[in-house]
Symmetry: none
Subunit: 403 residues, 2 copies
């Protein structure tokens, strides 16, 4: 990982602008032996030009063979060792929708689910009920009161919601209630350590009351909770690297992880890459580090839709001139992890990286942006958490170490 | 190295089969500038096909520039940091021939040698006496008794034997008696720390009595002892990775190191690669991780016989269809270290790696298996101890890290 004390001592302010463009789950693998990956199959003249002018490499977000979740993948991109800084899903989701999680609070990610008359889960996502339907249910749940604590419940998307309990002496050392399979009932919340017993009791009481409220609903007649977590109090990005940073992202979770490290979330209209690049252009003068997050590459990868993932990449490529018009000094194009359509899930494969910095880059011999090219690229294979020092260096934002 | 706690938390059982095919000392260097290495010179159509379909890389077993012994080289392949887990030669040899080394025991590897009338060594291996002759001598030595301890002496191969002392308060913190050159007498055993003094005295007394027994023999009229060591109590491979593992190896030492980490040694007839692959096929259903060890690549490398090492590789290649017929999900072809025929010894050069996994691999641009190709391969250059996480990931045996 980036050594934060070293970064603090070497980082300096400058007039340069850095853009970290993350296509979520960018990395892929061929569907057939010898075939192209999603990135290699895409029509990508702009990315290829940047690759020819810049330098390529590939990165391991957590470690060799380790498949990262979205939280660890992004923490690594921001320079945080994801094995050292562990953030729960509850906090990530809460921050993403603007719900504060203070130092005494415990957040959890909730899923509405469907249970049969005997209480066994038949659908872990309640048929992915519409966000509007979910909101109505959350409004009902928000009326549950428990003694000595405050409770906030907020809808996220579809069947997902967030619950935060606030009060003295709470602990997030709790087991999850989602059994991760159907045919069995939700599990009770259990305390992993004795001091968490009261919090476990509170969550179990809340779940019991929620179950009664939901009982007559269909298909969302029950819920599960997971990712119990508190404020991880991360070292702050802007202080470590001496930048003013902002996040342009469509999905709450990615604004959430950016907010956790202290980036400013930017509100904007629309949800296409073009919309995101326009939003970036609008705030260009006010920030010097922009994290731009494209979600759809990952979503289409998880769908197993190779062609659709290719199209997302092509859309980003086509919109790139809008981003380049602002003239970034350093542009990093990469992913937080790989999501090969063939595997329909996140994977451990290294993440392709394109580093473009017209004034400072040492180019390699590669002339197109793809996984095979990145594996031969001039930056080699390295841990994702080393990317931030590279980005700052190419932006003249790191001083010399030693005399 | 593989983080064992992380591996324990992420590893999961699966129906997939992993084969780790180790050609001992596989890596080489050209004899003449511009020429091929042993691997590159070999006729290897099967390996080249696997290379084209799979992904290449190169690994450092211990560190840049560090030449590994067989123990460290194999520990690294199994995911154990060889700088953290240090296993003595004595224990390795003992385990290899089925001699138990308990927590209170001290094992040493012995060599019969030849000394002149003044006691100076003239041949450190006593002309590599035949195993049968060695056995007769070992039978005589086995009769030596010392107060308060049990002693077990067993022949290995040719001039090699193993001695294990068993009793309370023994210590393996002892210096070796082999001076590693001729023209000087064997050294006395010395205690490296005070608590080992009694053990040093016991070994010196045993050596004195053994010297008298051997005095009239020829050429094996003396012996040296090295690799004093106790049970290293290694974390267990099957528990860490959630696999059922087995070892197919001709030489005792490699079954020994496999047994140390908890792999099941497999008895079989014959000693060719084809015999080993047939043995693997026979036990295919009972295990999901097979470590197959080919010794002759290293032996011919140590002989300095480039052409003979090439032939061993060709033999392995020719036998590969037998192994592939069982349809492994992940096949790793590599070495424990390099043994270039030109250097006639183990070396520090990175070890070529071929990773073949038809369902999950991301191929690179390389189409043949050789050191030069591996240096450009898609897996990059990495520590050997990271291989196990990669192997498990490609076999769908590692869960995602973090949400």
């Amino acid at each position: 990982m980036a050594d934060f004390d070293l970064m603090r001592s070497l980082s300096q302010t400058a007039q340069t602008k850095i853009v970290l463009l993350v296509m979520d789950g960018l990395g892929g693998i061929p569907v057939e032996s010898g075939g192209p990956t999603e990135l290699e199959a895409a029509l990508r003249p702009n990315l290829n030009r940047l690759a020819a002018e810049g330098c390529l490499g590939q990165m391991n977000p957590v470690g060799y063979g380790i498949t990262p979740g979205s939280g660890p993948g992004h923490l690594a991109l921001f320079g945080y060792d994801p094995l050292k800084f562990d953030i729960g899903r509850g906090v990530l989701e809460a921050f993403g929708i603007g719900v504060h999680v203070g130092s005494d609070d415990v957040a959890a990610r909730g899923n509405f689910c469907t249970v049969d008359p005997s209480g066994k889960i038949t659908d872990r996502r309640a048929g992915r009920i519409a966000t509007d339907a979910s909101k109505l249910l959350v409004d009902k749940l928000a009326k549950i009161k428990l003694p000595g604590i405050e409770i906030e419940v907020k809808p996220v998307k579809e069947h997902r919601f967030v619950i935060v309990m606030r009060g003295m002496g709470l602990s997030s050392c709790l087991t999850e209630t989602d059994p991760q399979k159907t045919g069995v009932p939700p599990l009770p919340v259990k305390a992993i350590e004795p001091k968490a017993q009261r919090t476990a009791d509170l969550f179990n009481e809340w779940i019991a009351q929620a179950g009664k409220i939901l009982a007559d609903d269909h298909p969302a007649n029950m819920l599960t909770l997971r990712g119990f977590s508190g404020d991880p109090r991360l070292p702050q990005f802007n202080e470590i690297y001496k930048v003013k940073s902002a996040c342009v992202a469509v999905y709450p979770m990615y604004r959430g992880v950016a907010k956790l490290v202290g980036m400013q979330g930017i509100a904007f209209e629309g949800d296409t890459p073009e919309d995101e690049f326009r939003a970036a252009a609008k705030i260009w003068k006010d920030y010097d580090f922009l994290f731009i997050h494209i979600k759809a590459t990952d979503s289409r990868g998880e769908d197993g839709d190779f062609a659709a993932k290719v199209k997302v990449i092509e859309k980003v490529d086509a919109a790139l001139p809008t981003l380049l018009a602002s003239k970034p000094d350093v542009l990093l194009v990469t992913g937080d992890h790989s999501t090969p359509a063939k595997l329909k899930s996140h994977s451990w494969h290294p993440v392709p990286l394109l580093l473009w910095a017209p004034e400072t880059v040492r180019p390699d011999t590669e002339t197109a942006f793809g996984e095979r090219m990145c594996a031969r690229g001039g930056l080699g294979t390295f841990p994702t958490a080393e990317l931030m020092p590279l980005a700052l260096a190419h932006a003249n934002r790191l001083m010399k170490y030693g005399a």
